[in-house]
């Protein structure tokens, strides 16, 4: 088992522009973010010996495009949290001596669709046979499928689920790079255009272009880099099913319940140690599931925790401080942007900086509750 703080993030950057970036193709967004991260770390492509990215982009495409000769690659693709898994796998690979310096990249032309790859379910896959015929049309029709059951089980109201978007917009207002920054109210959310009941457009993530990249190495080397090292204390991962209709509990994600506690136990931290939290919010219900499945709230209590502004600016558990997938950016695989915000918070460079934050938990989801990855960061090596 890796020791907490054995591996560090020494380079981190997003693409130069996020939001609407029609001047770059998908691989161009990967490369732009990668070059920015290498500049951040003071490295050249020849200094990198490990590459990770998520399909449809393959590590060999990125390595060749950037001129990297890797000794280790990872193409784990489990959806938008793949980057959390890449961090976990890279940390293990560096500790095992398979490589020294790993570059993890993301680029997605989600809005402009420049050289983007479609991802329809194949008609002979289980999802193609047993979900697709009933009219799902992308994540907005599938991810919220469990929500009505969750609402009935715990007495969650439409107002509770609207408040998630309201609070995250407050955080976005503090982030100049966030796509949507104007304040919204619960009424605004509940009067916005219906997409897939119970969710309206302000409860669904953005669709944007952008990229991000991280560079990891051993903590012993980290002091030689120009930026403040951000140490990895613990990580976790799991998967459940590609079919949201088959998740075992509609009020909780099994993948969350494995990945989150695994990461926190590996880090050796308690919930009260956490200063900053990111929970991948493709849709408004995800922060509630995340807060409960990771144990920050008891079952059914996340609705009140958010309603009472505990996760809002000035609250005791700042959550999704970039504005999240709902207001900051969401290219399709948002997990990289959640990781970037955790790194900024640990470096002390976030636009909505949490004063004195020392531990950040970054929790991702892939597919429609189909996968999960969690990373615990700190700016102090234990």
């Amino acid at each position: 088992m890796l020791k907490p703080g054995q591996i560090a993030v020494v380079g981190a950057a997003e693409s130069t522009k996020i939001g609407v970036v029609p001047e770059l193709s998908q691989i161009g967004l990967h490369a732009d973010a990668a070059l920015n991260a290498m500049a951040d770390a003071g490295l050249k492509p020849s200094d990198i010996d490990g590459v990770a990215c998520v399909g449809p982009m393959m590590p060999q495409q990125i390595a060749h495009y950037l001129g990297i000769v890797p000794k280790w690659v990872d193409g784990t693709g489990v959806g938008g949290c793949s980057f959390m898994l890449h961090v976990r796998h890279a940390a293990a690979a560096i500790a095992a001596g398979y490589c020294n310096t790993v570059l993890i990249t993301h680029g997605e032309s989600g809005k402009s669709r420049i050289a983007a790859t479609p991802r329809p379910p194949e008609p002979e896959s289980l999802a193609g046979q047993f979900e697709a015929p009933y009219g799902p049309f992308g994540p907005p029709t599938l991810f919220p499928i469990p929500v009505l059951r969750y609402m009935k089980t715990y007495g969650v109201t439409h107002e509770h689920l609207a408040m998630v978007a309201v609070v995250q917009r407050e955080w976005a207002a503090k982030n100049p790079r966030a796509m949507f920054r104007d304040p919204i109210t619960v009424d605004d959310v509940l009067n916005s255009r219906m997409i897939a009941y119970p969710f309206r457009i302000l409860q669904c993530c953005l669709v944007t272009d952008g990229g991000g990249a991280l560079i990891l190495t051993s903590a012993d080397r980290a002091k030689d880099f120009p930026t403040k090292p951000v140490y990895i204390l613990g990580t976790g991962e799991s998967v459940e099913t590609t079919m949201v209709s088959q998740m075992e509990d509609f009020t909780s994600s099994r993948a969350f319940r494995v990945a989150g506690p695994t990461a926190m136990q590996a880090a050796g931290i308690k919930h009260s140690d956490v200063d900053h939290l990111m929970i991948y919010d493709a849709f408004a219900h995800l922060p509630l599931y995340g807060l409960e499945d990771l144990g920050f709230c008891k079952r059914g209590e996340a609705k009140d925790f958010i309603w009472e502004r505990n996760t809002a600016p000035g609250g005791k558990l700042p959550l999704n401080t970039n504005g999240g997938g709902l207001s900051y950016t969401h290219t399709g695989m948002y997990g990289m942007f959640a990781l970037q915000e955790s790194v900024r918070q640990m470096r002390g460079t976030a636009p909505a900086q949490v004063p004195g934050a020392k531990i950040s938990v970054c929790h991702g989801v892939g597919g429609m509750f189909s996968a999960s990855g969690t990373v615990v960061f700190s700016n102090e090596r234990p």
Binding site: G128, Y197, P198
Partner: protein, 138 residues
Amino acid sequence: MLAPGRAKPKPTPETRHFWEGTKQGKLLLQRCGDTGKAYFPPRPFSPFTGSRNVSVFEASGRATLYSYVIHHRQVPGFTPPYAIAVVQLEEGPRMMTNIIDCPQTPEALVLDMPLEVVFEPLDEEITLPLFRPAKGGK
């Protein structure tokens, strides 16, 4: 016959019995021989124990409405708004489906309402299991 345009399932050797069943008006599930528990979607082994000791059986067709969304955008084969539902089958497994013979509104689609299966041909090869409010309740 359902309106054209829906995504059409392509059976595999492991799922063909299910789609042959729906064509004959039967909802076929499988049962683990070790635990006696029913499961879905089809596979030639038990997801509970890994045992290949499994059998196919005909489900009652009775279910309850477990959760759903009502989609408001245009999709080929559908007239919005339409519900994409997950039903809880009497035998235990859940499956995605559509609810027919019922207004596609939150007021009419009440969680846990009793449902019954109906078989609607998509074309000559594929018949989909859909559900409607149970006649006379359950």
